[in-house]
Symmetry: C2
Subunit: 144 residues, 2 copies
């Protein structure tokens, strides 16, 4: 599961951290680069393990992700299976997930047109409206 970040992700993580006014440290950079390189939400455990044995403490991963979340760099997702996952928030690519209820594989659905529903929410007086939308089903591989 251990992976090294791509040069591109390393550059972008640097840029993002500086842009958010966060000091650039090794754990922060590597965690963010991992999220940039790999699509889909990951558990804290997965992220920690991806960096290789002993690269940094699990508590550090929690702390970094907590800060990223506060700065709007990542968001937490919950797919109903008791595991919290973090995902890089790419404002340029709004999308949703399709989660296989059997094997838990996550794929993306890029198309999203629920502007109509969001405007109904705005009509009720809400401001700064956003949404989460996840699909669940049994993927082709998991069907008998």
């Amino acid at each position: 599961m251990k992976t090294n970040p791509s040069p591109k992700a390393k550059d972008k993580s640097l840029e993002l951290l500086r842009g958010k006014g966060l000091n650039v440290t090794h754990p922060r950079r590597k965690i963010l680069a991992y999220l940039l390189d790999h699509h889909g939400p990951f558990s804290v455990e997965e992220i920690h393990q991806s960096m290789g044995e002993g690269f940094c403490d699990l508590a550090t991963v929690y702390r970094c992700l907590g800060q990223f979340e506060k700065k709007g760099l990542v968001e937490r997702r919950y797919f109903g299976d008791d595991i919290l996952r973090y995902e890089y928030l790419d404002h340029a690519h709004h999308h949703h997930h399709i989660i296989c209820t059997q094997c838990k594989a996550v794929t993306q659905l890029d198309d999203c047109d629920i502007a109509k529903l969001e405007s109904m929410v705005k009509d009720r007086g809400y401001r700064d409206v956003s949404h989460t939308l996840e699909f669940f089903g049994v993927c082709a591989k998991c069907q008998p």
Copy 2:
């Protein structure tokens, strides 16, 4: 926060428990009746407290909700605030939530037409497709 279940909810909880083949006990009945009477998802803590001091153990609430979930009577929701909530699953009334990001008040949005998106998921080979959709915003009361 203590409330007593309505007669209607008491009847329906009995019916639902029997229908699912669950023994009818006081805690099960009162927990289910609470979820039937009050709309919106509630945390385990809220449900426990709603039944009054010492009515039943917190562990019992966890156990009951876990069984209800297995039987498809309730579903867990996660709104990104670290709190897991349980909601009665009314198959006859599919709806979504609007959660105020400030005061956390939950209201419902009954209209839901994302059949088009669900069919896109089915086209990808998924079966038993379902979805969750939540809206977040600042409600009128919480705006300056």
